[in-house]
């Protein structure tokens, strides 16, 4: 599954920066039926976590009712140069991750 992460490539120390992620995922609700009437098993991303140089700065518990290919954005404070890494896992136990580096000037 593809994902896109966007953080500013450069920031000043202490600056509030916008972090955005778009993940390709069906987010199957579990409430739908297939063509012959059998329920389609739920498969949503259940946990999304974002670490900034190893420290968790954002976490979301997702569930049914969130659209396919979820898009999430939040803000964090630019602290040190390094990596912003997202990890997630869905109902099928399939993990995903995507990272982006940020350069912080003092």
């Amino acid at each position: 599954m593809a994902a896109r992460v966007q953080v500013p490539a450069k920031a000043k120390k202490g600056e509030i920066v916008e972090v955005r992620i778009l993940i390709q995922h069906p987010m199957e609700t579990g409430y739908r039926l297939d063509d012959v009437g059998h329920p389609i098993k739920r498969n949503v991303i259940t946990l999304l976590s974002c670490r900034y140089n190893g420290v968790e700065v954002f976490r979301a518990d997702l569930s049914s009712g969130i659209a396919a290919n979820p898009y999430i954005q939040f803000y964090t404070v630019a602290d040190r140069s390094g990596e912003i890494e997202f990890t997630w896992i869905d109902d099928e136990g399939k993990p995903g991750s995507e990272r982006q580096s940020i350069e912080v000037a003092a």
Binding site: A2, A3, R4, Q6, R20, L22, Q24, P26, M27, A67, A68, N69, Y71
Partner: protein, 257 residues
């Protein structure tokens, strides 16, 4: 004599203007009928969900496939320059076979003819991704298909199909998209039905889809029989729609309701 020539010129200009189904100044892309939220999502170069497919298509572009172990890039090099403006001219007659092809058909023909690879299935992730990637290279360029020569009979058939009443509701495309665009249909505003954003990400589908899929949705909406994927009648319609939208900038990947 000069005045006569000028008059003739004006008549010719007027005739050319009438060659359009909708006058240029009244031509509106589907995105103008959206709410601000979806329009800004489409214009967002990061959050537009269709870009997930465009990115996938970019990777597929240089992935070797088939017997010849060639990729699209082996012949066409950098799509950013070689594919610029290509989508604006499709559907188009393939000179070698005389067949009318949309972008999907062209990609699959290339796979068969040059790569010795299996064609991608309709609405497969791969076909949507490559189509979206190729069409994206023409973003902002005006639609400009040719309806001359061998394309003309297909265009005429498309025009006929566009105006054909069908289904339990006995409606043609024109009843909504020609005579009633801009009016409300339940909670939605009826668009002019232009194909300049395809493949589009539709909220209703929660995924990217082709123009054929959209045509099928329209047929189902008027309770008409859906033609199978790949039917020549879809291609005729696609050509007519592209001609009808001539001048509209390409928006791929569009975002629609």
């Amino acid at each position: 004599m000069r005045r006569l020539a000028l008059a003739a010129l004006l008549v010719a200009a007027a005739a050319a203007a009438q060659e359009r189904a909708i006058p240029l100044e009244k031509l509106k892309s589907g995105s103008t009928f959206l709410g601000d939220d979806l329009r800004s999502l489409q214009d967002d170069d990061f959050a537009n969900p269709g870009l997930l497919w465009v990115e996938r298509g970019e990777k597929l572009w240089s992935e070797p496939a088939g017997r010849t172990k060639q990729s699209c890039a082996s012949c066409h090099q950098d799509a950013r320059s070689t594919m610029r403006g290509v989508a604006a001219r499709y559907p188009k007659i393939d000179a070698e076979s005389g067949r009318l092809l949309d972008l999907e058909g062209r990609i699959n023909l290339c796979r068969a003819r040059r790569m010795g690879a299996e064609p991608f299935k309709y609405e497969s992730e791969e076909l949507l991704a490559l189509t979206a990637y190729v069409a994206r290279q023409s973003k902002g360029m005006p639609m400009d298909v040719s309806i001359r020569g061998a394309a003309r009979p297909r265009f005429d058939a498309g025009e006929k199909a566009y105006h054909l009443r069908r289904g339990q509701m006995n409606l043609s495309c024109a009843h909504c998209h020609e005579a009633n665009w801009g009016k409300r249909l339940l909670s939605e505003t009826i668009s002019q039905g232009h194909p300049n954003g395809y493949p589009v990400y539709r909220m209703e589908w929660q995924t990217l889809g082709s123009l054929e899929r959209r045509l099928r949705a329209c047929l189902s909406g008027i309770r008409a029989e859906m033609l199978p994927y790949g039917s020549p009648e879809y291609l005729d319609l696609e050509l007519y729609l592209a001609w009808r939208a001539q001048g509209l900038p390409i928006e791929t990947p569009g975002v629609r309701r």
